[in-house]
């Protein structure tokens, strides 16, 4: 039964202020719609809903952008979108729960801990989407593929990775008569000289993500390998690993203080922002934190994509990958959303202030958002050429993932820094890694 009061019309006059407000809103709305209409999602999505499970980004402004983007994308395509943000370390437990229940979010996100190899039997094949994106944007970085593929099939779509460059204080280096650093030896020397002047350096010898990144980068620069490219043979027991360990021990003894044994993922940010550190090896969130909290130090903070080792210049990035459960209720909308985000990578990177590094080659066209306009960050525009991921040169398999989450590599460096002989440490780490790979091979 209809309500007669519903069909009442107002005949208010439109004054100038209201006119400007309405037209202004219209123009902004139309611009966004034009932006989002660049690719119109299929009509059958209208009236559906989409649930996403995301991490809480280290750059909060990115989450604001993403939530807004999702809202507008939803409005444009008639999809009700809901994003749940969680701390990244809690995501694996949440995925295990969703998988056990056979219900949960449509679109999920692996952050750093890449679980594609664990869940691929229960994830949607996204090969059409990933191959389409690769074709459109000049191909995927080779090292990114194992985070999203199993047996050549794409069960995930790489979104972005986090670069972990060297952040160094030019004023302190200048004061010690040191030139612009380029190699690990340069940074070791700087630590040795500047620690004596009250400006030590630091890399975390603890159970945190940064420890996993930093020490792997050093290892890879020294030519050490976790496995062979197939991921079948463990190669950690090598001369190169030993050299990297000896170097780390010397770098700790000469240039660091014991506090690095207690560091978490934010400690190096604080260390740099406080003005104490002469250099840290961290994501550009540390650079941004310093920019926001200590402009004086920020003015003298410079960025090197990675220090060069005796064998290579390789940076271990932290990968992030989209995936869709087989039990997802709205697979088409989830796929469309991934496509939309990839198509708006420039806005995403801008919102993240240059933090979200793309996996697609053509997205490295200069100037890159958030990086190209800052001379100190401009060097990161070639980060795709030096970035590798955990397990290197092998793939990011479940076994490599377990080695990562049980902190065997950081513990190996910690033992040596604390004085355990290199030989004993390598033997211990090799045993632990072999045990893990053997268990995964058996199952």
């Amino acid at each position: 039964m209809s309500d007669p009061h519903q069909v009442q019309s107002d005949h208010h006059s439109v004054d100038r202020r209201k006119f400007l407000k309405l037209t202004g809103t219209g123009v902004v709305g139309a611009s966004l719609l034009t932006m989002l209409d660049a690719r119109q999602a299929p009509a059958q999505l209208k009236g559906t809903s989409l649930r996403l499970l995301m991490w809480s980004h280290f750059v909060p402004a990115y989450d604001v952008w993403l939530d807004d983007f999702a809202k507008k994308w939803g409005e444009t395509n008639g999809v009700k979108v809901r994003i749940d943000h969680m701390p990244h370390l809690e995501l694996p437990a949440r995925y295990a729960a969703e998988f056990a229940a056979g219900a949960g979010h449509d679109l999920i996100y692996f952050v750093g801990q890449i679980l594609t190899g664990h869940y691929y039997k229960n994830l949607i094949d996204l090969s059409d989407l990933a191959n389409g994106l690769g074709k459109k944007y000049g191909g995927w970085m080779e090292s990114s593929k194992s985070g999203a593929q199993v047996g050549g099939t794409w069960y995930g779509v790489p979104d972005f990775f986090i670069a972990i460059p060297m952040l160094w204080r030019k004023d302190l280096f200048d004061s010690a008569g040191l030139g612009a650093p380029d190699t690990w030896e340069d940074f070791r020397k700087a630590g040795r000289i500047l620690k004596a002047k009250g400006h030590p350096t630091g890399m975390p010898f603890s159970h945190c993500n940064d420890a996993n990144h930093n020490w792997r980068s050093l290892m890879y620069c020294y030519g050490a390998k976790e496995t062979d490219p197939s991921g079948q043979t463990i190669l950690i027991d090598s001369k190169e690993t030993r050299e990297a360990l000896k170097f780390a021990k010397a770098m700790y003894d000469e240039g660091m203080t014991p506090e690095v044994f207690s560091w978490d993922d934010a400690s190096d940010n604080r260390y740099l922002a406080s003005g104490v550190a002469c250099w840290v090896h961290d994501a550009i969130s540390a650079y941004r934190t310093t920019q926001d909290t200590n402009p004086k130090v920020f003015e003298h903070t410079y960025v090197l994509p990675e220090a060069k080792g005796p064998v290579a210049r390789l940076n271990m990035g932290e990968p992030n990958v989209w995936a869709i459960w087989k039990f997802a209720k709205n697979v088409p909308a989830a796929k469309e959303f991934i496509q939309a985000i990839a198509d708006h990578q420039k806005e995403a990177m801008e919102a993240s202030r240059g933090y979200n590094m793309p996996f697609l080659r053509n997205q490295y066209t200069r100037p890159m958002p958030g990086l190209g306009g800052d001379p100190k960050l401009a060097a990161l525009q070639e980060q795709d050429k030096i970035t590798v991921f955990f397990g290197n040169p092998g793939p990011m398999t479940p076994a490599a993932q377990e080695v990562l989450t049980t902190f065997i590599i950081p513990d190996m460096f910690t033992k040596v820094a604390r004085g355990v002989p290199v030989e004993d440490t390598v033997k211990w780490a090799t045993g632990e890694i072999r045990r893990i790979y053997a268990k995964h091979k058996a199952s």
Partner: protein, 327 residues
């Protein structure tokens, strides 16, 4: 041939009744007063049994199933692997570190909680102005959300901005930041374990104090007064009168505390995640990082089940002692 039993007598299972007027009938056993009491008792007990079975028994059996299989987070079809996961844990050097730390963490914290809880309970049992308010305030650590309070401690233990170090430095007890004497609470192996234990103690000792206080207030003042008249010292009164009288409460409190501390994941996970180099690794963090973050559910479950043989005898001894004291 045996004669008919007398009217109203019963055997187990059923009773034969001889009614007046020669009608003979069989009354079911469950209609007897004994059976009714029996059924009534078990009906009252059923919700508790069901609760324990569903929320404790089923998860326990499920974790046992996982521990005997090669289950991973993404594979619902697991293969029976016997005791392989337990063997794998025993071959893992970190497991022994975690086991040792778990025992040190549990028993070290228990001793500290016992000492602090007892002292606090004695203070709070004394009459003084504002006692009710103080009693309410001391349970705050126990009632605060653990994530919030542990993050507070994380800042207080920060290697650079620690308020504890700042205070100690200003008191002249340690040097400046960067000096040899500047403690790195979560970075030095001994200190790190002590720090996580300390947070556990800080959070739980009010519970110990409240349990003790409840027991102490139940002891009749006349008994204490009589002991005083007989010349018993403070320690004698505590050891020979108060403790024996409140032993049942103490045992239950100790049992709860042991279980909660040994299985406590949050404090270590949030403060150190088991680092540095396993210095604070305990069985729950190792099980979580292996089973959930590493995806090897079977091995994670096996590691966590090692807690069971540790806890079972402790709880059995406590409950046995408690029962003996009751009868």
């Amino acid at each position: 041939m045996a004669g008919l039993p007398a009217a109203g007598s019963s055997r187990s299972g059923a009773s034969l009744s001889v009614a007046v007027g020669g009608r003979v009938g069989v009354t079911s056993w469950w209609r007897t007063p004994t059976a009714r009491r029996f059924i009534f008792g078990y009906t009252l007990l059923a919700p508790a049994v069901l609760y324990v079975a569903l929320l404790v028994g089923v998860p326990f059996l499920f974790s046992l199933y996982l521990a005997l299989s090669d289950a991973s987070v993404g594979d619902p079809v697991a293969r029976f692997v016997g005791l392989d996961n337990f063997k794998a844990a025993l071959e893992n050097a970190t497991f022994y570190v975690a086991l040792r730390n778990s025992l040190v963490f549990t028993f070290g914290a228990a001793v500290m909680k016992g000492l602090l809880g007892t002292s606090l309970a004695f203070l709070l049992v004394q009459p003084f102005k504002g006692r009710t308010v103080v009693r309410a305030l001391i349970v705050i650590p126990f009632t605060l959300p653990i994530a919030v309070s542990v993050l507070g401690w994380k800042w207080m233990f920060d290697s650079q901005f620690s308020v504890i170090n700042w205070a100690l430095s200003h008191l002249g007890l340690i040097g400046e930041f960067g000096s040899e004497s500047w403690p790195v609470w979560l970075g030095q192996p001994g200190l790190a374990l002590l720090s996580v234990m300390f947070v556990n103690v800080w959070r739980s000792f009010p519970f110990s104090a409240i349990v003790l206080l409840a027991g102490m207030t139940s002891v009749a003042p006349e008994i204490i007064e009589a002991a005083k008249v007989d010349g018993a010292s403070f320690m004698q009164r505590f050891r020979m009168i108060i403790v024996p009288m409140i032993a049942p409460i103490l045992f239950i409190g100790a049992a709860f505390d042991t279980v909660f501390t040994l299985s406590d994941l949050s404090i270590v996970y949030l403060l150190t995640n088991g680092g540095p180099d396993g210095a604070t690794e305990i069985l729950p963090t190792l099980a979580y990082n292996t089973g959930i973050r590493g995806g090897a559910l079977g091995r994670g479950a096996a590691i966590s089940l090692f807690l069971f043989p540790l806890l079972l005898p402790a709880i059995a001894i406590l409950l046995r002692t408690l029962r003996r004291r009751q009868y």
